[in-house]
């Protein structure tokens, strides 16, 4: 369950077709968001500029998590890359809809779709 010190967020890192995929499991809130920030900063420090964040394993995401992902997207784009999301969970998508962030992020239905988009194989 926990990534590190007892928080209910786990982050799996994988590489798909040369792109970094962060898969989130559990809950992102004010207690666990430092774990996610640390993962993003590690990826940027290692030179990753194009990444996919898979939210399919998330049970809960709050405004702190939205802010974190939005900041990471901004950082990726400023470095010439991008950050795409994968999510079909209605409860999580609802927060993006309420805040209008669904118009900011590219939200894909699968990692394969996000990978194709980032590699320019799909409009």
């Amino acid at each position: 369950m926990a990534s590190g010190d007892g928080h209910s967020l786990r982050v799996n890192i994988s590489v798909v077709d040369g792109l970094v995929v962060l898969s989130l499991f559990g809950e992102v809130d004010i207690a666990s968001v430092p774990i996610l920030q640390e993962h993003f900063q590690r990826q940027f420090a290692e030179g990753s500029q194009r990444m996919i964040v898979d939210l399919e394993g998330l049970d809960y995401l709050d405004s702190t998590g939205l802010g974190c992902v939005t900041a990471a997207r901004r950082q990726a784009r400023e470095a010439g890359g991008d950050l795409l999301l994968v999510c079909t969970r209605q409860r999580v998508l609802r927060l993006f809809n309420i805040t209008g962030l669904d118009q900011v992020f590219v939200i894909c239905r699968s990692v394969a779709e996000a990978t194709a988009r980032l590699q320019g194989n799909e409009p």
Binding site: E27, G67, T99
Partner: protein, 131 residues
């Protein structure tokens, strides 16, 4: 459960305590007859209120988080306070605006009071009529 009543919870003002409140009030909402979506709305709104208050606080600030819920056949009135709060330097990345937007969308009313005091408060109301 009774038609009218109240529950209150006091917690140390620490981020780890937010999930405790989230679970508690999701369970209460369910007991009060809210459907899954209604209970989710309440637990999300309470989480946003608590996170808003904790983000405002200075690093290392102490104090107590209080969540009080009063219900009637018509509505739930939720009051979330941070007693003994000390305001810190803002590290906001837009989360405050997002939190307010979310609370307003998921409840019938959301108001922030006494923001500049040592007891900032968020008041939420959620109708029980129509689930």
């Amino acid at each position: 459960m009774t038609e009218r009543g109240e529950v209150s919870l006091r917690l140390p003002a620490e981020p780890d305590m937010v999930s405790v409140a989230r679970l508690t009030f999701a369970g209460l909402a369910s007991r009060l007859g809210f459907d899954f979506d209604g209970a989710e709305d309440i637990r999300t709104a309470v989480t946003e209120a608590l996170s808003l208050l904790l983000r405002r606080a200075a690093d290392g600030a102490k104090g107590t988080l209080e969540v009080a819920v009063i219900w009637s056949p018509q509505a739930l009135e939720i009051t979330v306070r941070h007693r003994g709060a000390t305001a810190g330097a803002t590290r906001d990345r837009g989360e405050t605006a997002i939190a307010v937007m979310v609370m307003e969308a998921l409840t019938d009313s959301a108001a922030i009071e006494d923001w500049a005091t040592d007891c900032p408060t968020v008041r939420l109301t959620k109708s029980r009529l129509g689930g």
